[in-house]
Amino acid sequence: MKFTIGRDVLTDAVTWTARSLSPRPPVPVLRGLLITAEDNLVSIASFDYETSAQLDVEAHIESEGQILVEGRMLSDIVKSLPNAPVTIELTESRVVVTCQNSTFTLATMPVNEYPALPAMPEVAGTIDGSVFAEAIAQVTAAASKDDTLPILTAVKIEIEGDKITFLATDRYRLSMKEITWTPHDPQISTSVLVKSRTLTEVARSLGGGGEIEFRFATETDDAELVGFSSGGRRTTSLLVDGEYPKIRSLFPEESNIYATVDTGQLIEAVKRVALVAERNTSLLMVFSNGEVSLSAGQGDDASATESVPVQMEGEDITVAFNPSYLSEGLNVMGGAYTRFAFTSAPKPALLTGKKELEGPQNEDYRYLVMPIRIPN
């Protein structure tokens, strides 16, 4: 096997696929990148049994073939090469990487021990990349990062015709995002569970370039994989198995207190006041007299207060939140204003975004957060 390729194209390709390599793979061959030269295309793939990443790039191929090389090493090498064509060649049992005057020799890993890459599921429809990226950033804000609760590290993706609803919760907050997409089958109705981490990774690596093809088996009930592809880059991931809790019903049916604040101002204020709130302690919000006064810290320790103007509707209310839960929601709210809807202090608060102070709510994204109960 021997091919020559531009340094930038190679660096991009190797860096992207190497990113999905597991740092501590279950078997050593999974440290490798599988490089296949065939039909004037070089395909590079990585796999860790859970997720796979594959892409094809054009190259000048002198002889076809397949190699498996240590991925991180190769990634470090290609990043440091001068900007010139790079030749990769298999000689006997070694891989030789040449670029101008530099030559690297790498050990190969046994290709025949490499597991078969999962087949890409068929394309079910397409999503605008930037819409997808925003949706994922918004919904994953509420997903659990605690691997001991695997089901809550997943995002539930509900698909009904041209509407996709993303849902995530870590028990203390809940986010729900609706977007439209272009399904191949307008009658489609299904749902899948995908790890929140996987979606974040997909949004990051594929969200920047146009349409994303969303792939999953629409026919079989025992589908195991979900796939995303865009511009020659393809990734698959195992679906999360299990029963996702029923969470739509957690949204309060009605609220009677509304408070609208400038999102940017509140984010900054929360960030400052939260500096004194040690881990797990609350940030108190007193909504009264046209402002929300934030305070944190108690007892013998440091404390802080700050207030932000607020447009109120309904009675005054005092409520305490975990400051991280609050800021993580506000950070992805979108829209210049955020509206808090309360029923009463111990009940969850619903946050929605707004473009203008007097304008309508953006109902497509809703963030529900449970307050902290503070002792009397």
Partner: protein
């Protein structure tokens, strides 16, 4: 089965049904106000409160007539006046109250040494050992009311039950000037119809949550599965179920007057160096706070004591804005006290002491991040917030396990090493 504060003894033939209800809760009625009424009989029967006269002060003791207008203890005086503008306000005279309180507690101590004073006007007593001498618990309760009135002229209410929780509920429901007896076998029957917020630990917020969960009465609470309550409410959950079932294992514990914890050190050679003195102050502050935490208390005051070579002692004390438990806070507050003492009159120091004053039960419980899910059990995961232990707690645990190798602030380690070297 109703758990009691003490093991029961067989009921003699002459006894009434209160025989096994040996725990009494004595509570003075509108205590401060009643004391004032002794000196102002003309104010009897009208809405009156004890409290400061300024708009910012609060009601400390409303008369039962004032309570009819919705006036409550701890209510701002401005609000009380809004409820009843012609309210008579009596400025408090503290000395009179503690004097009366001592007399009341004296009456109780004449009955039994097993007296646990809760506050200036409230106490639990265990009369198990007094029954042969004085009669059944109900008879003793009547005797106490009579003696308290004879000695102080004040009305009181006594609750008689098998344990503290029920005794307190019984007295609360017999006010004013009442006597509530709950025979042990009628405990559950007595509790069942009461609203759930009579249970100790059920504040307004928890009350609301319980009601939202359709738990309105003590009887309904008693029927809950303790394990489910544990998942829902944390450690307090099963406790509530037990209390609602009339179970309360707490015994009457006479407090040895531990309203302060002090530690002091007498130096072999008098200390003349302020820096050395401050290092000892640091050590004493940590030790004092550790001993106080062992008792599960928090301090609202702090004093520093110095003794000079002529053995004359001076102290300086201060009140804390918020309660303190940590050695670091003790030290921070103690340093200026020591500095003041030494500025007033400098002398070589023979003895240095730190005392934690005005000790109280910690009022602030941990905050709880509640779940959005009504029933969190579907996730079967220990709550991470419960795992959080304060540094001081860890320090205490280490000190308990390895008494000679306790963790200390780094400055103290240095100090100890120097001391060891100088001690040879």
């Amino acid at each position: 089965m109703v758990s009691t504060g003490r093991s029961t003894t067989p009921r003699p033939e002459w006894a009434d049904s209160s025989w096994d209800s040996t725990i009494l809760h004595i509570d003075m009625d509108a205590f401060f106000l009643s004391v004032e009424l002794l000196d102002h009989p003309e104010l009897r029967g009208i809405p009156a409160v004890v409290g400061g006269n300024s708009g910012r002060s609060v009601v400390t003791s409303p008369s039962y007539e004032a309570r009819k207008y919705g006036i409550r203890s701890a209510m701002p005086m401005s609000q009380a006046l809004a409820l009843y503008p012609r309210l008579t306000i009596i400025e408090p005279t503290r000395d009179k109250y503690s004097h009366a309180s001592k007399k009341v507690m004296g009456v109780l101590h004449d009955i039994t040494p097993s007296v646990e004073q809760l506050s200036i006007d409230e106490a639990f007593i265990d009369v198990s050992g007094a029954r042969r001498r004085l009669g059944t618990p109900a008879q003793i309760a009547a005797l106490i009311k009579q003696r308290v009135r004879a000695v102080t002229g004040l009305p009181s209410t006594v609750g008689v039950a098998a344990n503290k929780s029920v005794a307190k509920i019984a007295s609360d429901h017999s006010k004013p000037d009442g006597l509530g007896v709950v025979p042990i076998e009628l405990t559950q029957e007595y509790l069942a119809p009461l609203p759930v917020n009579v249970i100790w630990g059920v504040g307004p917020k928890l009350h609301q949550r319980l009601m939202n969960a359709d738990i309105h009465t003590v009887g309904e609470l008693a029927k809950q599965d303790p394990r489910r309550m544990q998942r829902w409410l944390g450690a307090i959950g099963p406790q509530l179920v037990a209390l609602a079932s009339g179970e309360d294992p707490r015994t009457v514990e006479p407090r040895h007057d531990s309203k302060s914890v002090s530690v002091e050190h007498t130096f072999e050679r008098d200390i003349v160096d302020n820096q050395v003195l401050e290092k000892y102050l640091l050590d004493l502050s940590y030790e004092c706070s550790r001993r106080m935490r062992q008792e599960g208390l928090v301090a609202w005051g702090l004093s520093v004591k110095v003794k000079d070579t002529e053995l004359s002692t001076r102290t300086k004390s201060l009140s804390l804005q918020s309660s303190a438990t940590s050695g670091a806070v003790f030290f921070k507050q103690a340093v200026p006290l020591l500095q003041m003492l030494m500025q007033q009159r400098w002398h070589p120091v023979r003895l240095l002491g730190v005392r934690a004053d005005r000790l109280a039960e910690p009022a602030v419980q941990h905050e709880v991040q509640e779940s959005l899910f009504e029933d969190d059990t579907i996730f079967e995961q220990p709550d991470a917030s419960q795992d959080w232990i304060s540094t001081d707690q860890i320090l205490d645990d280490v000190a308990k396990k390895f008494p000679s190798a306790a963790i200390k602030p780094a400055t103290l380690l240095q100090h100890e090493r120097q001391q060891r070297m100088s001690d040879g």
